[in-house]
């Protein structure tokens, strides 16, 4: 229990520090080293490309994403919906990010087809999101055999294309 709390505290500190660095205009050598070290610690690949002005900021987002995912997996986040850490937007004049997200807005975003903005959605919503369009619905309902024949047809047509 104590270990879990310590890990949580450590993650929280790391998160705060990362967010701070994200808003910092010029990163120092120490800041950059911190990002590199944390990447190694969390086993996240980091390639510092030449002429890449935003590599470190991009990496901060990746790290924040990993930390958020850890929190979701550990059950530390109890919210129904969790946005990706890089999502910080203005919608209808309201600033929406994980701190301000409500279930109502989350559901509106999902209706707009923004499922990719979420790291966690409510179970029931997840099921709905898997079949958002009519065509997809029919595909799910269709028996397995038809799917197989579809694949076969596809392979046949592909072969035909290749022969041309």
């Amino acid at each position: 229990m104590l270990t879990l709390n310590l890990t949580t505290l450590k993650n929280l500190t790391m998160e705060t520090k990362l967010k701070e660095l994200f808003n910092k205009r010029n990163l120092t050598i120490e800041d950059k080293q911190f990002i590199k070290d944390l990447s190694t610690q969390l086993n996240v690949k980091f390639v510092e490309r030449e002429f890449c002005s935003d590599c470190y900021k991009d990496q901060i987002m990746v790290l924040l994403k990993v930390l958020t995912q850890q929190k979701i997996d550990n059950g530390e986040i109890t919210a129904d919906y969790v946005l990706r850490p890089d999502i910080d937007v203005i919608y209808n004049g309201l600033r929406i990010n994980n701190a301000t997200l409500t279930n109502e807005i989350a559901e509106e975003f999902l209706r707009m087809g923004l499922r990719h903005w979420f790291m966690k959605v409510k179970e029931s919503q997840n099921a709905v999101e898997q079949t958002p369009t009519k065509s997809k619905k029919t595909k799910v309902v269709a028996p397995e055999t038809s799917t197989e024949s579809e694949t076969e047809n596809k392979t046949e047509s592909e072969t035909a294309d290749n022969s041309n």
Binding site: E50, R95, M112, L114, H116
Partner: protein, 192 residues
């Protein structure tokens, strides 16, 4: 709260040697009226980035396609942005041709372009780097036709749409190029 000026230089003015700039636009652009946009989402830290647009279910057709497939003139040739010192704004010009003739086309396309001033045009650059690939014109103050020239020799209307906006460039960008492309394609499906 401490005072902070609008902006100051925060990047090098240098070419990216690994990703050289690819000039030009693709042949298909989108035009719609801002009033027809049902809702929009912009980035909270940079309002120049439009993350999402939604159009109402009815009318089903609220977006026009501008298709300029000819190689001469080049796609959307003459499209440019110029800073205007006096107004402290960026003057944006989008130029395209239209081969429609006759009364119907005159009523449906040519005249509305100069009668209304809330048009938004999205053009796709050949450069597919994500942020910047889908350039948005007229989102802030709206485009209107400032020149429409028909010449029987060329066989088309050369239409110039212009506006003046405070921000130098606005883009449609969500997550990456692929996601944004899917959005652009979905908007195309709403065309007349």
């Amino acid at each position: 709260m401490a005072f902070t000026p609008c902006s100051s230089l925060a990047g090098n003015i240098a070419s990216d040697c690994t990703k050289p700039r690819i000039k030009g636009y693709e042949s298909i652009g989108l035009i719609f009226r801002k009033k027809d946009v049902q809702s929009f989402i912009v980035d909270a830290t940079n309002s120049r980035i439009i993350k999402n647009l939604t159009f109402p279910a009815t009318p089903a057709k609220s977006v026009g396609i501008i298709y300029n497939p000819r190689q001469s003139p080049a796609h959307f040739n003459g499209t440019k942005t110029e800073f205007q010192l006096e107004s402290n704004q960026f003057k944006k010009t989008v130029q395209f041709y239209y081969e429609g003739i006759g009364g119907t086309n005159s009523y449906n396309v040519v005249e509305p372009l100069k009668n209304i001033n809330d048009y938004v045009i999205i053009l796709e650059r050949k450069d597919k780097r994500g942020d910047g690939t889908y350039q948005v014109f007229g989102w802030e103050s709206g485009l209107t036709a400032t020149a429409q020239v028909y010449d029987e020799e060329t066989g088309y209307w050369l239409i110039t749409m212009e506006c003046e906006e405070p921000h130098s460039e606005l883009t449609l960008f969500d997550t990456n190029y692929t996601t944004t492309k899917a959005k652009f394609e979905a908007f195309k499906a709403l065309s007349y």
